[in-house]
């Protein structure tokens, strides 16, 4: 089986036959016809510009880990205000989970939540989570996969997140090192007035990982920050596509991504900021830095800005290169060995990103994971 329309349709039929959550059939039908309309990614299509299609096509979409159906089946009308319309989805990563999940999972975070921690299913093949965060609530989502065995695994997971005004959300997203995993993660986020979502992501290396985020800053003064790190070796690939839409005055977004590449790994970061007409007093910053540490790696970036309004503060920057030769020389001239100097600078590169995310118990976990990965890649 390969990742193509016919095999996906087979799975849809198999799910129907198994009778999973029949009340979601209309939603699935809408997503299926949208998939048929846009088709699978073509060469150099903008959503998958740097993802090698040959790698994508080899994926076997047959679900290997099927979660049990949700204990209390959720009816579409209950979550109707928050389900995204299929016809607006142009990315297969956004469509596949909604189409193939046996049952969507609904999470309702109440207003009283005070940094409640919720783990999202990071292991099942197809997961569609719809989360609603009430006004003023504070919640932490952990999106992590366990290291799979030696079998080829494919997962397509989606999170629809509706954040009401004044709420605060932290998302910690980790791809644990998994050379046999192909994973697509998609998040659709809507942020209300004075609410904030802060995302810290770490990719330790998968055969192919793709994380896509559509963040809509709908309410005034809303904030979206995403910081992501990829520390890759061998033939791991990490691709990100982050699209942030400034839709109300006074909103602010920040995107900061770093890649540390060894072996023949590849990473790409496609970031978009679109500032809609009439949106004033808004700020958007994007920064992508890639460190290339071996001759066979490849780093790509596409920091896109679409601006319809003249009262904005928007900037983006990207850099690519090795460790700074002058910094290395300075450390060595103080007696540190070449290896120690490199290690110091590499750790500083990684730490500098994590430190811009507000410290929390969860971010400490990310630091640990990152440090462990760095130590494995650059043993002392």
């Amino acid at each position: 089986m390969a990742l193509e329309l016919t095999s996906i349709q087979e799975i849809v039929l198999a799910n129907q036959a198994a009778g999973y959550s029949p009340q979601w059939e209309p939603v699935r039908t809408a997503f299926l016809s949208q998939l048929q309309k846009i088709g699978m990614p073509k060469p150099r299509s903008s959503a998958f510009f740097w993802v090698p299609l040959s790698l994508l096509q080899k994926i076997n979409p047959k679900p290997t880990a099927v979660p049990k159906a949700a204990p209390s089946p959720v009816v579409p009308s209950q979550v109707a205000p928050w389900t995204v319309q299929a016809q607006t989805q142009n990315d297969i990563a956004a469509i596949l989970p909604a189409l193939l999940a046996t049952s969507p999972l609904f999470i309702d975070v109440k207003a009283s939540a005070d940094w409640q921690v919720i783990s999202l299913d990071g292991d099942s093949s197809y997961v569609h989570t719809i989360a609603h965060v009430a006004s003023g609530a504070k919640v932490r989502f952990l999106w992590k996969n366990a290291t799979p065995g030696t079998a080829q695994v494919f997962s397509a997971q989606r999170l629809d997140l509706q954040v009401s005004e004044q709420a605060e959300v932290e998302i910690i997203e980790i791809i644990a090192e998994s050379p046999t995993l192909s994973a697509m993660r998609h998040a659709h986020i809507e942020i209300g007035a004075n609410a904030s979502v802060r995302w810290l992501g770490l990719d330790c290396g998968a055969q192919l990982s793709r994380t896509s985020v559509d963040a809509h800053l709908c309410g005034s003064e809303a904030v979206f920050e995403i910081r992501a790190l990829s520390i890759l070796d061998q033939s791991a690939q990490s691709h990100r596509r982050i699209q942030v839409y400034h839709e109300a005055p006074g909103v602010r977004s920040e995107q900061f991504v770093r890649h540390v590449l060894l072996g023949s790994s590849q990473a790409s970061c496609d970031t978009l900021v679109e500032i809609l007409k009439g949106v004033t007093a808004t700020k958007a910053h994007q920064l992508v830095n890639s460190l290339l540490l071996s001759p066979d790696v490849k780093a790509s970036a596409k920091p896109t800005l679409i601006i319809h309004n003249d009262e904005v503060e928007a900037s983006h920057g990207t850099t690519c290169g090795e460790l700074d030769a002058m910094q290395l020389f300075y450390l060595e001239s103080r007696g540190l060995s070449q290896a120690d100097s490199r290690q110091l600078l590499l750790n500083a590169f990684v730490r500098a990103l994590i430190e811009t995310h507000p410290t929390s118990p969860a971010s400490a976990e990310v630091t640990q994971f990152a440090q462990a990965t760095m130590q494995r890649r650059f043993p002392e």
Binding site: S333, R334, G335, A348
Partner: protein, 246 residues
Amino acid sequence: MLKIHNLKCQIPDGTEILKGLDLEVKAGEIHAIMGPNGAGKSTLSRVLSGHPDFSVTSGTVSFLDQNLLELDVSARANMGIFMGFQYPTEIPGVNNLQFMRMAVDAKRKYAGLEKISDAEFLALIDKWTAVLEMDTRYRERGVNEGFSGGEKKRNEILQMAVMQPKLAILDETDSGVDIDALRIISQGINNLMSPDKAIILVTHYQRLLDLVKPHKIHVLRAGRIVLSGGPELALELEKRGYDWID
């Protein structure tokens, strides 16, 4: 301590900068190297510290009777050479103190000694940040991160104090530094000097040499040392410039 004989070196595009330089520095001496811009003063200090952009084409350099040119950058530092940079590099994300401690430990390891204890290190830092009038900011920031020109120079001397080198080569330590900072830096340098150590000051201006008195002065011009003399030579150069030398 340091013997340089007929040193020639070039930069990557093939241009020869040092064209046969000779210099000898004994323990207990302070030497000053002066000369017009482009003569090769900074090149000399960088070649001695092992900067990758400069390749030695001929000549010898011996430091404590060892062939210096055979040693890599960190080994030279561990043996006791300290390079005070004209434009110290900023390294955000690497804590200033942590880095100095690593440097001290690297040197100790090279000499077969134990790592420095917390107490001893802190005492060293406390003493020298006081002498150099540096506040606690220097402890919390990344290496040279956000420091002004004068602060960076003081940070160099702080490192010199902590690492206790045998030979310190200070490249234009006085440039971009105001009178007060210069006084403090000079104080630090003088305090660090002793009969078993040596210092080479690379400079343009007389004023540093008023505060840190050199035993010998050399004029470097067109890649060679064209004139050497005692401290009075500096006053002569101040009055007449470099053109009269031939």
